[in-house]
């Protein structure tokens, strides 16, 4: 349903009256106007561009002097003496995108008349006033919209009873009571600890951890577990991946020519490390936007700052674009889009072609931001290659100096690649021998293809490569990122977003609607000031958007469900006071993500069970008021990681780099087969290669977000391809085998105890008597036609494939 336009987009009042008068020698001009110009305007233009039109097209009125000179959305209609800036002339000429009248190009004679008229000063006797039609943004009124209001520090409401254990709970309880609702009971300890583990580190607790907590579920024990999980390196892998969704992390350009980004993984690792170090979120933002411009105390810190700016370089790119200006403006658009949506929850890139239709973001301000990014050079490092018209370099850090270098590999690189390839090849060949005995034809064929590919690669690496010019030494550390350009400058509005169609130059700056009033005088590109402006404590959006994302990951739904859109078209907060309270606490606690998570998971509301609440079904069917916990499906990564954990195969050692780096530069689908990114790995899923258009099958199957798009909330779909994956994929069967082996290797256990252990491992709970009986019956049945290992494998697979395995209560 379309929402009504917000009230601040009103038709604003008139400008001061024009005071033009005509001298005697304008007489000839007036006559020319009356004879040649006015009739054409009346006949051909007034229908859509006059005061009599209900809704003048393009906000343009041509029936007064004032109107035609002021112009509309795209700029001035007529600028006396200046043909090129007079959009009326360009429209009459039917320049691309401006064709007027739309279906009919007027005769050359008429166009020549208009040109003459403009050249001669565009004498125009039509004195009437035209109210500007363009919706002028009244920022003062616009700021009445909830998300642009300053963040308040509301006092937690007073509530009765002993349910509430924290301020968060008080806000929740008050809202529930307002709606005549009561919260359900707390979750069972084993349900709760499973929730906690998956939410904080994306992995299940071990049966021992579960039992210890069941024995002592006291608040102190809970706190201890929370602190342990927040301190574990797995925390950053879990929460870093949440952030990578938002910033459209990908290891290739995507689009029509899909060139790899061999060094994107450094940004990934930076994100994981930042969450693990509990880097204050404001610093995290500043580093990603302007890390290259920050002072650094140590070499490590400098490296970290530079790599952080990878955020601006890893976006999708149209490498085949011939038009350089267009290419650059697309890169800028991606940078504006990611920074405004990720940090501000605003869809500023809507204002690229016209003023934002719903939010107070004028096109001018889009181009103020664009000026900042046009004054920034982006190093994404795709090298050259066929179909790549926009080859890019990467940055290299050697000692203290950073410089752009060619993206293609160096000698050392080559050597270490060779080593890695040889190892991979040996491993694959060993596996092939095994598979030939026990695997399917399909598996053998697949592996054989991989082996052939590896051999081919190895051949390539055996050739000596000439050192690349401009290489800053073999020890240089390469990464993606940005630097200020040599000559920072403002850029022009591009009419209707057409890169080559330039309008007024606008000074670099930020979005008025989210400004606190504090000045940030631009230096260099202005990126550092943009970053500082983003994290200004008085910026009404940044902290709210950040805490709302955290809340979403813990409850399955944000206080504002549209996490990437806090504008008019987004959702309204279910608990505006709570949101502000959290945002205030967040800033007060030095933007600590871990502290924020800690305070939320230790609240009573986070501890609620998922039990049905019949009353709430009527009043609050979407459970926005949180009278119970949402039943949530795990993300693809957590499902995969949990399978590895339960099978005993999980390798917690972080990956070193990415397969994309070892494969190197190339065009996916042309010089690099996409199947090469389907690697076998027992490491956590966050380390799998995320090549656009070639996302690993497992992740793709379970709603991994399109990596070219800024994603806030993943879809949860349920389709037969997921079921097929669980039933038949080599990965799941492999893990089931290991899981079965793990059970069978336990000596001294009866089979029913094995079944019980399996349930504890997979579901963090014992098996019921009925479940035990049915499970054993299946094993017995399957043993008739298969060996014991195979029978147990099938049983284990059923557990891994079950809904209970991939849902958290």
């Amino acid at each position: 349903m379309p929402k009504p336009l917000p009230s601040y987009l009103s038709l604003a009042a008139c400008l001061a009256a024009s005071t033009l008068t005509f001298a005697a020698d304008d007489r000839g001009g007036i006559e020319f106007f009356e004879r040649k110009i006015r009739p054409v305007l009346v006949q051909k233009c007034y229908k859509c561009h006059s005061a009599d039109t209900k809704k003048p097209k393009g906000g343009l009125l041509l029936d007064t002097r004032e109107g035609i000179r002021r112009g509309g959305e795209s700029g001035h209609g007529v600028v006396p003496g200046n043909l090129e800036e007079s959009l009326v002339i360009r429209a009459l000429r039917h320049e691309k995108g401006l064709e007027m009248p739309p279906n009919e190009k007027l005769s050359d004679q008429i166009i020549a008349d208009f040109e003459r008229w403009v050249r001669d000063g565009a004498v125009d006797p039509r004195d009437g006033k035209s109210a500007p039609v363009l919706a002028k943004i009244d920022f003062e009124r616009a700021k009445n919209f909830w998300s642009f209001q300053p963040i308040q520090n509301p006092q937690p409401p007073k509530v009765r009873g002993s349910w509430a254990q924290s301020d968060i709970d008080r806000f929740i309880q008050a809202k529930l009571e307002e709606n005549g609702l009561a919260p359900v009971a707390d979750a069972e300890p084993r349900v709760f600890i499973r929730r906690l583990y998956f939410d904080l580190i994306g992995l299940p607790p071990t049966p021992e951890e579960v039992e210890a907590f069941v024995a002592d579920p006291s608040p102190q024990a809970t706190q201890k577990i929370v602190d342990k999980l927040l301190a574990s390196p797995q925390f950053g892998e879990r929460w870093g991946r949440h952030w990578l969704d938002v910033v459209r992390y990908g290891e290739s350009t995507g689009m029509e020519r899909n060139y790899t980004y061999p060094y994107a993984w450094r940004y990934r690792d930076y994100v994981i490390a930042s969450f693990n170090a509990d880097k204050p979120f404001n610093e995290f933002i500043v580093e990603q936007v302007a890390g290259d411009l920050l002072p650094a105390k140590t070499k490590e810190e400098r490296y970290e700052h530079y790599v952080a700016t990878g955020l601006l370089a890893i976006g999708p790119k149209s490498l085949n674009e011939r038009n350089n200006e267009k290419f650059l403006m697309d890169v800028v658009d991606d940078q504006i889009d990611v920074t405004t949506r990720a940090f501000l929850g605003l869809t500023a890139s809507c204002a690229r072609c016209h003023d934002h239709k719903f939010d107070p973001i004028p096109t001018r301000e889009y181009y103020s931001l664009a000026g900042i990014f046009r004054s920034t050079d982006t190093y994404y490092g795709t090298g050259g290659g066929r179909g790549n018209r926009q080859a890019g370099r990467v940055l290299a850090l050697a000692g203290d100096s950073v410089q752009p270098v060619s993206a293609t590999g160096s000698q050392t690189q080559n050597k270490s690649d060779r080593k890695r390839l040889v190892a991979q090849l040996q491993k694959a060949e060993a596996r092939l021998a095994k598979l030939k005995k026990s695997g399917t034809q399909q598996q053998v064929a697949k592996l054989q293809r991989q082996i052939d590919e590896l051999k081919k690669q190895l051949q390539g690496k055996n050739k000596k490569q000439a050192p690349v010019a401009g290489q800053s030494g073999n020890n240089a550390l390469k990464f993606m990122g940005v630097l200020d350009s040599a000559q920072p400058q403002d850029t022009q509005i591009r009419i209707r977003g057409e890169a080559d169609d330039r309008g007024d130059t606008v000074p670099r700056g930020f979005l008025t609607i989210a400004s606190s009033g504090r000045e940030y005088p631009i230096e260099g590109s202005g990126r550092l000031q943009y970053a500082q402006w983003l994290v200004d404590p008085a910026n009404p959006l940044t902290a709210r958007v950040a805490v709302n994302r955290i809340w979403q990951h813990l409850f399955g739904q944000g206080i504002v469900p549209s996490v990437n859109n806090f504008g008019a078209n987004g959702d309204r907060p279910s608990h505006p006071e709570l949101l502000d309270y959290l945002a205030t606490q967040f800033v007060k606690n030095n933007w600590s993500v871990k502290k924020m998570i800690r305070s939320i998971v230790l609240s009573r509301v986070y501890r609620l069970s998922c039990a049905e609440n019949p009353n709430a079904k009527e009043v609050d069917p979407q459970n926005r008021l949180l009278s119970r916990m949402n039943h949530r499906r795990l993300e693809a990564e957590a499902i995969r990681d949990a399978m590895l954990a339960v099978s005993g195969q999980l390798d917690l050692e972080p990956a070193k780099g990415s397969i994309v780096e070892s494969i190197g530069n190339g065009d996916v689908g042309r010089t690099i087969q996409p199947s090469r990114f389907e690697i076998e790995s027992n490491k956590r899923s966050v380390y799998l290669p995320i090549v656009r258009s070639a996302v690993p099958e497992m992740l793709r199957t379970f709603d991994f977000p399109e990596p070219s798009i800024v994603f806030g909330q993943r879809d949860v779909t349920t389709v037969p391809t997921q079921a097929l994956y669980m039933m038949n994929s080599p990965f799941v069967i492999e893990q089931s085998k290991h899981f079965a082996q793990r059970l069978l290797n336990k000596e001294g256990l009866q089979d029913d105890e094995r079944v019980d252990l399996a349930y504890r491992l997979a579901f963090s709970r014992p098996a019921s008597a009925a479940e035990k009986a049915k499970s054993l019956a299946f094993v017995a049945e399957a043993t008739k036609s298969a060996d014991r290992n195979k029978a147990w494998t099938g049983f284990c697979q059923a557990l891994l494939a079950s809904a209970e395995f991939r849902y958290i209560e």
């Binding site: 504008g567 800024v710 879809d715 389709v719 391809t721 079921a723």
Partner: protein, 461 residues
Amino acid sequence: MFELSRRALLKTMSCGFGYMAFAGLATEAAQKEKKAADYENPLAPKAPHFPPRAKRVIFLCMRGGPSHVDTFDYKPMLAKHEGKTPDGANQRGRKLMPSPWKFIPSGESGLLISELYPHLRQHADDLCLINSCHTDLPNHPQALVQLHTGQFRFVRPSIGSWVLYGLGTENQDLPGFITIKPPARLGGAQNYGSAFLPAVYQGTKIGDPGQALRDIRVENIANPLYSSDVQRKQLNLLQMLNRNLAQRSDNAELEGVIESYELAFKMQTALPKLLDLSKETTATHKLYGIGEKETDDFGRQCLIARRCAEAGVRFIELTHEGWDQHNGLRARLSANARATDKPMAALITDLKRLDMLKDTLIIWGGEFGRTPAVRNKDGRDHNATGFTMWMAGGGVRGGMRYGATDDYGINAEIKKFHIHDFHATTLHLLGLDHTRLTYRYAGRDFRLTDVYGNVATEIIS
């Protein structure tokens, strides 16, 4: 999005057993029924905006840009002005080359079709040649992505995904959008991807480019451990676990999980069966040219397409590679025509036999056409400003030409038909209003046609 009326739903179904399976599951227990009603299968058939002319699409994608002036756009002036240098985008000062092939009036309509297509010509009265197609850029990567998604500057859902999103699919045992051997490059998965639409609407890829169709297998379709009956027992154990969970929690999604396993189990049989051509008669094999060297591969693709159509798959795309003839036009274009002519004609014949041509829309075309100006003595370059696609069946008027290029075939001039118009018209034939088929993403409603697109109503019978 749209109201789902039961009557409209039943009306749009030709084989309906997907729905029956759905309904059967829902009645297992009263409690379950209630929950199943809460669960909405995102792929269930949906009523279109208005009565459709076509219920499904078979898109024959000729990857590389087939030369329109040698196939379906007769240009006698090329012979007359041979060797002249034409103006126009991408002609690069080269000389006009007349088509080496004769055009023959075909069918009662007398449509002029190149002698390259002796079999297809027999169906001239079913073909609607759209001679005025044009697209934004004469580069493969952008043009192929635009052909599929309408856009090349941003990642957007493909037309098959939009159709599946708008209409759901009739047979829940099979994917609703199947693409056979799609290119891995030039946008790759973007050409059948769902972008911001939920992932259920993405196309299912069968086979890779360069792979012979007779060897293709579908991933994860067979269980390497067990026979089907043991697997069924395993599934029973699994479904017991799922039902237990569904009973103790209040979550409609869980019904979806249970159902997805039943459907997957059936798909294990249904999908290989769909691809198994051995049960088709020898006559049918012959009709499609299966077993003959040149036509075997595309013949199989076309026969699979027919089987998909019969089984209720909503959107089927076939790819035939290698139409980028900058040189060797005479040999390579005739080889391509030979490889595809008989199979395509067979597809039309076969659908007619089944009385399915009337509601199956067949689309033929590539990402652009080729220049009338010669390249490398025996080749043609990319021509984006004018080219030809054709449609047949699915409510399209046969035996007609729609629109025209200029005398040489460089620019579409009459009734210009942009890719956006192609998308708008295709959706329209399926009963979808392209301005109303929207999805809310990033704060606004997106369409396949963005702010463009006109339906070419003239081609609708």
